[in-house]
């Protein structure tokens, strides 16, 4: 089934086509959702909400861009509203007052593969994490992020640069630990 046919059937609420589309994009999208949340369960909740939106709004997809990009955008907006909706995130979404504080020990224990790198991103407070995801990974500019999150562009900039600095620091620390461990072994 090619993408056009799949889209046509999805618009007709064909469950098989919808499942095909889901199977095709769910892993990539769960990767997106995972970066915005603190647990896999939450990420899957976002994925579920996101795909429900995808299937109910698929009639609005005009085919101008890539389907993956359109779905990803839905996932991102769904994730943001999910973070706002849930108490455990809401407090951390207070962009102006949230201090950037993370236990470094936890970071050091992770192996810096891709998944671990994503874990580093997820160690950031939700507000920083969201801004970093939107700017650093999704590629939105600060104006767009400011609109999406209801913050000023200045806040977006500062949050992003602080989050990035923190992440770099963690990665360097991790590198030093690995390097130290290797030289000790020698």
């Amino acid at each position: 089934m090619d993408e056009k046919e799949m889209l046509r059937l999805c618009r007709k609420d064909d469950r098989t086509a919808q499942e095909t589309l889901y199977r095709l994009y769910a892993p990539e999208m769960l990767g997106v959702c995972y970066r915005y949340t603190k647990s896999l369960d939450d990420a899957e909740d976002v994925l579920q909400d996101g795909f429900v939106k995808v299937f109910t709004q698929i009639g609005q997809f005009r085919g101008d861009g890539a389907l993956a990009g359109w779905i990803r955008r839905i996932m991102v907006t769904t994730a943001i509203s999910y973070l706002r909706r849930h108490n455990r995130y809401r407090n951390q979404m207070d962009f102006d007052s949230q201090p950037l504080h993370v236990a470094v020990d936890e970071v050091a224990t992770s192996k810096l593969q891709t998944a671990e790198l994503m874990d580093l991103v997820r160690k950031l407070p939700a507000g920083y994490q969201t801004v970093f995801n939107l700017v650093g990974i999704e590629g939105y500019d600060h104006t767009e992020v400011a609109v999406m999150l209801g913050i000023s562009t200045q806040t977006s900039r500062s949050q992003y640069s602080r989050a990035r600095a923190q992440l770099m620091k963690w990665v360097e620390e991790w590198d030093e630990k690995i390097t130290g461990a290797v030289s000790n072994n020698k």
Partner: protein, 481 residues
């Protein structure tokens, strides 16, 4: 670490980052989609629900069987079951069950499938406080009546109790006549209910009071206390009718009307008018004139009767149906002569049409109309006391009679003629009413959608008018004081 390199590295890695979701996620998505689909269907249902409900209500209100239903409290299909039994018992003489006050005796039997033995209670009940009837309840042998499948009630399910099937048999002595099936709410108690007016034995024998029984062990004792059947001869009395909120209103009014719109065509055979010295010399004896209307207000009076009925319990909306009679006078002057070749010959000599009119002649149609129409209107009562009302309606009717005269100053006097066609007409009206008491007054504007005033031709003539009406409410329950 180079910042850009860090960004690129992170971006690349994040872009390719994938996680396989658990199977349940798709199931949840599917569930959500299905529930949304159901909701959408439900929305459609609610769109049509009012129509279904209205249809159901009409059907129910017209159904002859709505007074002869029987419902067992926990039994899903007691009515059909009872009806079957009633069919079987049509041959039973009704006299058996027609009883006299204080001497009534009806036998009831309960069948309880768990019971292996049959207990008979032959002690008549003492008359109820109303002193109308006595009931005997007997247990009938098991298997006398086929039992429907037992459905556990929520209580039974909770208690894990097997349902017990009970029946109440209304019988004369040993002969069972009708059965009321019931499922007990627990193992010891059976509750059943017979609706007021239920026809149990024969079509002409009914129970008029609600019959409710509770069957704990032993059954007889409680039944004595709780059963109050009142079998009486004859049909169940009809329920008291609710006082109608409909009101009858008589109206009288006077108004000014104006005919307006397109011109009217006057086609007259002038050759016919040889009397009085007018001859038509237009060759073939036929001439025609085109008359353009010159609106001249006419007077009218009206009489009417209306019935107003609120929409349900609404204090703000009601509909009105009515019959109106209107008398209208009208007058139309004409001016333009189309056929300039038309010459009139008078006893004073031949004149051209132009000269004829120049000499001050004119054609006029005068007449009157009697109209009767039906009105259907909706009223919006602006206040809850219904003192101020805005009414919008549609009317349609017929012109009962009409006539007109053509005055021709020169050379003829008034010439009666037949020209107005009798036609139906339709129109709309809107108006405001002030009705502080049984008396009320209102002002109404009317506009005819179709014409009744035609003079030997198809040209339409529109009519509009303003009427002042006084009305009197004939009903006593009309106003909310």
């Amino acid at each position: 670490m180079d910042m850009n390199a860090f960004d690129d590295n992170l971006k690349n890695r994040a872009g390719g980052f994938r996680l396989e979701p658990r199977k349940e996620v798709w199931e949840r998505v599917e569930q959500e989609l299905n529930s949304r689909k159901r909701k959408r269907r439900l929305v459609w249902f609610w769109w049509f629900a009012p129509f279904l409900l209205a249809g159901g209500a009409v059907w129910f209100s017209q159904s002859p069987s709505n007074n002869s239903e029987m419902a067992a409290v926990s039994t899903p299909k007691p009515i059909t079951s009872l009806k079957k039994d009633l069919e079987l018992n049509k041959s039973i003489p009704s006299e058996i069950f027609q009883t006299e006050d204080n001497k009534n005796e009806i036998s009831g039997t309960t069948t309880r499938s768990k019971k292996e033995t049959t207990t008979k209670n032959t002690t008549p009940f003492t008359p109820s406080s109303s002193g109308k009837s006595v009931v005997l309840l007997k247990r009938s042998p098991e298997g006398e009546f086929p039992q429907p499948p037992a459905i556990p009630t929520p209580v039974q399910e909770a208690k894990n109790v097997q349902p017990v099937q009970d029946s109440l048999l209304i019988s004369s002595e040993n002969e069972p006549k009708a059965k009321i099936e019931a499922i007990p709410v627990d193992s010891a108690v059976t509750t059943f209910r017979v609706k007021e007016g239920t026809n149990i034995l024969k079509p002409d024998t009914t129970i008029i009071s609600e019959l409710t029984g509770v069957f704990p062990e032993p059954a007889e004792a409680i039944i004595k206390d709780t059963l109050t059947p009142v079998p009486i001869p004859g049909k169940a009395p009809k329920k008291d009718k609710k006082p109608s909120k409909a009101t009858w209103i008589v109206l009288a009014g006077a108004g000014i009307h104006n005919h307006t719109g397109k011109g009217i065509t006057l086609e007259k055979s002038m050759a016919d008018y040889t009397s009085g010295g007018l001859n038509n010399n237009s060759g073939n004896g036929q001439g025609s004139t085109q008359a353009l209307e010159s609106p001249e207000p006419g007077l009218g009076v009206m009489l009417g009767i209306e019935r107003s009925q609120p929409f349900g319990k609404s204090k703000h909306w009601s509909w009105v149906g009515g019959l109106h009679y209107q008398y209208q006078s009208f007058k139309v002057s004409t001016g333009t002569l189309i056929d300039s070749t038309l010459n009139y010959s008078t006893d004073r000599g031949n004149v051209t049409a132009a000269n004829y009119y120049k000499a001050g002649n004119s054609q006029q149609q005068k007449g009157s109309q009697h109209r009767v129409h039906l009105l259907a209107a909706v009223q919006w009562h602006m206040d809850k006391k219904q003192h101020w009302t805005w009414q919008n309606g549609f009317y349609g009717g017929i012109v009962l009679s009409s006539d007109y005269l053509i005055p021709q100053k020169f050379p003829l006097s008034w010439v009666p003629s037949e020209g107005l066609t009798q036609k139906g007409y339709t129109g709309i009206e809107t108006g405001f009413l002030f009705r502080p008491s049984k008396w009320g007054a209102g002002v109404f504007g009317q506009y005819n959608l179709s014409n009744s005033l035609k003079i030997n031709g198809p040209a339409p003539q529109y009519w509009r008018g303003i009427e002042l009406r006084v009305q009197y409410n004939l009903s006593s329950n009309s106003l909310k004081k």
